[in-house]
Symmetry: C2
Subunit: 368 residues, 2 copies
């Protein structure tokens, strides 16, 4: 496994040296984990011209443990003082010859950037930008295997919830039970705060579980995901409570279901990000729901629950094979509720059977 991380660092080294930088300082935790195999809290990674000098710098915080298993090939350096900033210490390790250092300007604060520069006054600070994030978009099969397990865990947790009594229970308790079940089934934790939305809340994006109790006739929408070895998936489903869904519920559900299927089917290699968004968005706009739609209908997942690509109307770029994305359009009718259906899938060529669906819980409208 170590070789995987060394190979990732080599790909990054090619990028920043080609851009004219002698060294790179990686500070985004997910990027550090991607390149080092683990992230002790606050650790940063310093890469030079040559792999033998790659160093992971960790703050001195007695007792904290790294997430993930660190690459044994990496040099590890723990700061001598508790208050030190590993990014600043990294600048101090730059070889005398190094005249430039690429940093993640989208992550380093102005204050840290200044401190880094003051320690390495002769090194020109350049912007590494989203180089590591770009490397992370296409996953290898080991990463996809982690996402597959994460999705299985989420399916299991959701499936068990559906077998339990729901009426009368609060959104908060259902969310907490789902998170407990995720851990029961081997998740390192929830991939993001679980959302449970009932009745008028149903279908709201990012709804925070409240004390509202599930009632007969409610729409119930649930969004959850598992973190398995750092890889995070997402599943969203909407159900109706009670035996007889209302006509408007059935119509709205069928509409969102059709839009979500259209989005999934558009996830093929070389499809434009905006084409996938368009496929899922157009049916909802055509039905007159264009106004309240979320700014995007899906996004990449991996070491972060929300990473590139963005499936949105103005997004540039095309899908590649082995890119895991979510497809989750939703409609919320203020005061009435709504529907969200969200899957995590992996883009695969038609020859391999097309998109690989990771979250397999049924998308039939279940009346619970």
């Amino acid at each position: 496994m170590s070789d995987v991380y060394a190979a990732r660092r080599a790909r990054l080294r090619d990028r920043y040296t080609a851009a004219g930088s002698a060294a790179a300082l990686v500070s985004c935790p997910a990027n550090v984990r991607y390149l080092a195999g683990g992230t002790p809290p606050g650790a940063v990674l310093l890469l030079g011209r040559d792999k033998d000098t790659d160093t992971l710098l960790c703050p001195r915080t007695a007792g904290d443990e790294p997430a993930g298993r660190l690459d044994g090939q990496l040099r590890i350096s723990v700061l001598p003082t508790p208050s030190g900033d590993p990014a600043v210490a990294a600048a101090g390790l730059l070889p005398a010859g190094a005249d430039s250092l690429a940093v993640e300007e989208h992550h380093l604060t102005v204050a840290r950037h200044r401190a880094v520069g003051s320690v390495a006054p002769r090194a020109r600070l350049m912007d590494l930008g989203g180089t590591v994030e770009q490397l992370r978009i296409v996953k290898d099969e080991e990463e996809i295997a982690c996402l597959r397990i994460a999705a299985e865990i989420a399916d299991q947790a959701l499936g068990e919830l559906l077998e339990s009594i729901l009426v009368g229970r609060t959104e908060r308790h259902l969310a907490l039970e789902l998170e407990r079940r995720l851990v029961d089934h081997g998740a390192d934790g929830p991939a993001f705060p679980t959302t449970v939305a009932t009745g008028p809340h149903a279908g709201r994006r990012g709804h925070r579980p409240s004390d509202r109790r599930v009632e007969e006739g409610d729409f119930l929408s649930v969004g959850l995901g598992a973190d398995y070895h750092g890889y995070r998936c997402l599943i969203g489903r909407t159900f109706v409570i009670g035996t007889s869904p209302a006509d408007w519920q059935i119509e709205l559900y069928e509409l969102v279901f059709a839009a979500q299927r259209a989005g999934r089917e558009a996830c093929v290699p070389s499809a434009g990000y905006r084409e996938v968004d368009r496929a899922a968005r157009q049916p909802l706009e055509a039905a007159g729901h264009g106004g309240g739609l979320a700014p995007r209908t899906g996004h990449g997942v991996g070491l972060e629950i929300d990473e590139d690509p963005q499936l949105a109307p103005a997004a540039m770029g095309k899908l590649d094979a082995c890119v895991p994305v979510t497809v989750g359009p939703g409609v919320h009718l203020p005061g009435r509720g709504g529907v969200r259906i969200d899957d995590t899938l992996v883009v695969r060529p038609e020859a391999d059977g097309g998109p690989e669906l990771l979250t397999i819980t049924t998308k039939e409208l279940l009346a619970l």
Copy 2:
């Protein structure tokens, strides 16, 4: 309640105008919540020379809800486009006359700072630094009331756990049960990831709950806290499992207990931060445990679970009345386990009876 937020903004306005800045852009979420009463995700607060122009700028993210209740006196502006950065939009709202803007350089990334500057090329960007964090250190009685309730909730959740069977259950499940009970008792959520550490893990700072099961003879250390209306407390306790603690367990417990009590008793107005740290640290060092000690023995709490002041050997500054802090020394013996005892208390003058202990769960060594 609105007047409270207006008064806080007025205090901040005095600071940045005195420092020669015409306007201030607050982007740290906890600072925005402190000044605006709530924080829609990603929102920033723009303050000018005059309170009538104070504006909260929110990103356009359909469905997201603010945390807390927004101050009705504030002007609210939602960005027209989903991809926009509220900090950049705020710079665009600067009155033509404004020649300077103070920003939080410890929070704004280099990339955002550059974007803000490019929108307001005629405004000199200054550093607001930790001005709002400093205003937040001394709490008013309404804030302390929220912390008091948060502490009661944590005490209740912990008390219920102690009545249940512990042997054979995993750290993860105990942690999840504690978090469920926090919510049962009215918490908006856990104040931080609950830690449960058994046997050799016990007493480790920041230990991530694992699948290790509680065994007879274990030390069991627990750290949890409630978030109540945004205010976060912390309690840490250590117990022994089984009827007869070993001598080394009793000795170590009594040592940490004495150190923690010394730290609590040192929390009086005008006591130096480092004096409090010293009081809790010295007994542990004297007993030969100096090596593995955490870099600090306590810290402030409030809208963040970890805020100023820092109770550490090199910390500058003195405690004021109405400053809530944690006091939580701990000792971890590699391979054997250890003890942590952590309380949240409010600094009060001797005349008012001295430190007000918020977390009141017993600190006797309980054998469970």
